[in-house]
């Protein structure tokens, strides 16, 4: 088994170009996405200067947008002319968001604005309840924000205080999980190639058992994918200083179930195809579809069709991204991890079974 594994590594060393190219492409893509020019967003505010500044401060947590204040009419015109992708209209008791069709961060902006308006409306309600003691209420409210009566620590990622969405990190995870499918496929494709060129038959009639031959090949596919992800993540961690939501090591552990599932998925695809070219075509189709469905190209929150959203549940990328999004508790991680492992077991079982049946027919 070790011999097969070592030989595969030697073959990779002899022909590393595809592996290196895919690694470089992921790094470059993520770097460029993370360092692209800030996109402008127009803001039209009917609030006073101080309140507008507060809202802007909150929005600037989303660092890859450049916010500029305009009149209501100008902001509207800018969106219509396509000069900005989104315009935010801040009113006394509500806000309005006007966005272009291809704007993907509506949900994110809404989340930030909800926090601003949540505090604002709370204060307004208190002031209305105690009209005679406005100054006192304001002071108590400010004081309560600085030193709250209860120190509440939120562990739930759905809560507003969860780690803020980091576009570069999200791009890194999305693109890595998507591209690594091709790396895994290149490892698994050896099984198909060996079956076609007769080496597999030599393995079968040798002194090693079938399960050893499968295990060695699958372990190789897993390892090259894992090493690639560790390498890419390490570059972003130690060179680009990306914080990985403060748990780099944990991230490296969390990608394991995803990779197991991808290895199983590729072996399943190998089982239903007969040639390397068929396999490569299938992998390309499946990887791109799963990336689209699973939220690697855009946030799942931006998906408006319930059917497409439902389809996202079959994409391992969805669960991979869910695991990696940061701030989740063990309980929350358990579900996507279990689904990935379940998919891995089922796809692996079916895949190897079909392969063995095909070999005999």
């Amino acid at each position: 088994m070790i011999t097969i594994f070592k030989t595969k590594c030697l073959l990779l060393l002899r022909n590393p170009i595809n592996y290196i190219i895919s690694t470089v492409v992921i790094c470059l893509f993520v770097y460029l996405m993370g360092h692209q020019q800030k996109e402008p967003i127009a803001i039209a505010s009917l609030l006073n200067e101080q309140e507008t500044a507060q809202a802007l401060q909150a929005l600037q947590k989303i660092s890859y947008y450049d916010y500029s204040v305009h009149t209501e009419q100008k902001a509207q015109e800018l969106v219509e002319a396509g000069e900005v992708k989104a315009a935010i209209f801040l009113f006394d008791e509500q806000f309005r968001l006007v966005v272009a069709n291809d704007f993907m961060d509506s949900a994110l902006l809404q989340k930030e604005l909800n926090i601003v308006y949540h505090d604002r409306l709370q204060q307004t309600a208190l002031l209305q309840a105690f009209p005679a003691q406005q100054a006192q209420v304001k002071e108590i409210f400010t004081q309560a924000q600085i030193t709250p009566a209860f120190h509440i620590q939120y562990q739930n990622s759905k809560w507003e205080e969860a780690p803020i969405y980091n576009r570069q990190l999200s791009t890194l995870f999305s693109f890595s999980l998507f591209m690594v499918i091709y790396t895994t496929a290149s490892g698994v494709s050896y099984i198909l190639a060996e079956r076609n060129m007769g080496v597999w038959n030599r393995l079968i009639v040798s002194s090693i058992s079938k399960w050893q031959a499968y295990t060695a090949n699958l372990a190789y596919a897993f390892c090259i994918s894992y090493v690639q992800l560790v390498f890419i993540f390490s570059i972003f961690r130690y060179v680009a200083d990306v914080d990985f939501y403060g748990s780099f090591t944990f991230t490296l552990i969390l990608i394991i179930p995803y990779l197991l599932c991808v290895v199983a998925l590729t072996i399943f695809i190998a089982s239903i195809t007969n040639t390397i070219s068929q396999f490569n075509t299938m992998i390309m189709l499946i990887a791109i579809s799963f990336a689209m469905l699973g939220g690697a190209y855009w946030l799942l929150e931006a998906v408006s069709s319930p059917f497409i959203y439902l389809l996202s549940y079959i994409s391992p990328i969805r669960y991979g991204l869910e695991i990696l999004k940061g701030g989740s508790t063990w309980n929350e991680l358990l579900q996507p991890i279990s689904i990935l492992l379940f998919m891995a077991v089922v796809l692996m079982g079916i895949g190897i079974n079909i392969m063995e049946k095909k070999a005999d027919t």
Partner: protein, 310 residues
């Protein structure tokens, strides 16, 4: 001894191997001859325990290997029809790999690799990547990879396909030598008559999944001992001449080439008394004729009604 008993293999509705019986004794070379699609490779795959039969059994030393393939695999070497090697490894690395998976002890492996490289004549090219080998060299290494563990039985599935005559001759000599020196029993499949005639002690002829003839070379040729094959050379021939020729009941297995026609007749038939008047009647010039001893090709033609490479 390996015995194949009533072996049958169906692929969906196709009977690829149909009730085949054969045996191979230690130290002999047995040929499995037949055209493409005759079922040779499937039979080989069944004997090699690579696929499961639909019916029948493969016995090694009187024990079934269907449920206990290890019994046979330990003493079996398989040379597949494809070049089953890693092209990005050198000859030595390939042999190292296949030797290790055969669990040849480390102390012995290097010695065996050197011996095999010598046996297949690739000592000087052992450090070259296989992708830079000629097809003949690849074929030789393909055989070498099956010899590492000194198998008592070697199955070779058309090992000379697509190579130059020089490499082919080298391979055939090497196989003969392997059989004579190491007493390796060999099952050799081919659709080249001359290879089988050169190598094999006994022969099975397959067609459409069935064994249609079996025996030593002499026994097989004796099938046609009552007949002789005649080749006539003509300046040209015409449609009417060929039509007239095919109506002659004396002749069988008529094969027509451009200016040459061959046919089989009963051993004592005076074929000239029939052919000459026919030539005269159709204004055809007979340039010469040749009476041939029956070959395996003739036997195959006789048995199946078609040429081996059809």
């Amino acid at each position: 001894m390996i015995e194949v008993v009533n072996l049958t293999k169906n692929f969906k509705n196709i009977k690829a191997v149909d009730n085949v019986n054969l045996y191979i004794e230690p130290g002999e070379i047995v040929g499995l001859l037949g055209p493409n699609g005759a079922g040779k490779s499937t039979t080989i795959a069944l004997i090699s325990t690579l696929i499961q039969p639909t019916a029948g059994d493969v016995l090694f030393q009187q024990q079934s290997v269907i449920n206990n393939p290890k019994l046979l695999r330990d003493v079996l070497g398989v040379v597949p029809q494809e070049v089953a090697l890693y092209k990005d490894l050198t000859a030595r690395e390939n042999l190292q790999f296949f030797g290790t998976i055969q669990k040849i002890p480390k102390g012995e492996l290097q010695g065996r690799i050197n011996a095999v490289l010598k046996q297949v004549g690739l000592e000087d090219d052992r450090k070259k990547l296989v992708k830079y080998y000629s097809s003949g060299m690849r074929r030789r290494l393909n055989i070498g990879a099956a010899l590492l563990h000194k198998p008592a039985y070697l199955i070779m599935d058309e090992p000379t396909v697509g190579i130059d005559p020089q490499s082919r001759s080298y391979i055939l000599q090497a196989i003969k030598q392997l059989n004579q020196e190491d007493k390796t029993a060999i099952i050799y499949t081919s659709h080249y008559m001359e290879e089988v005639e050169f190598l094999c002690d006994r022969l099975y002829i397959m067609d459409q999944g069935k064994i249609i003839a079996a025996g030593t070379m002499e026994e097989i040729k004796a099938i046609l001992s009552s007949e002789k094959t005649i080749e006539i050379k003509l300046e040209r021939h015409s449609k009417s001449f060929v039509e007239a020729l095919t109506t002659l009941k004396l002749l069988s297995n008529i094969q027509i080439a451009e200016a040459q026609i061959s046919f089989t007749v009963e051993k004592n038939t005076d074929f000239l008394s029939v052919i000459l008047p026919l030539c005269e009647a159709h204004n055809i010039v007979l340039k010469g004729f040749h009476v041939k001893e029956p070959t395996l090709e003739d036997v195959f033609l006789h048995l199946t009604g078609r040429a081996l490479r059809d």
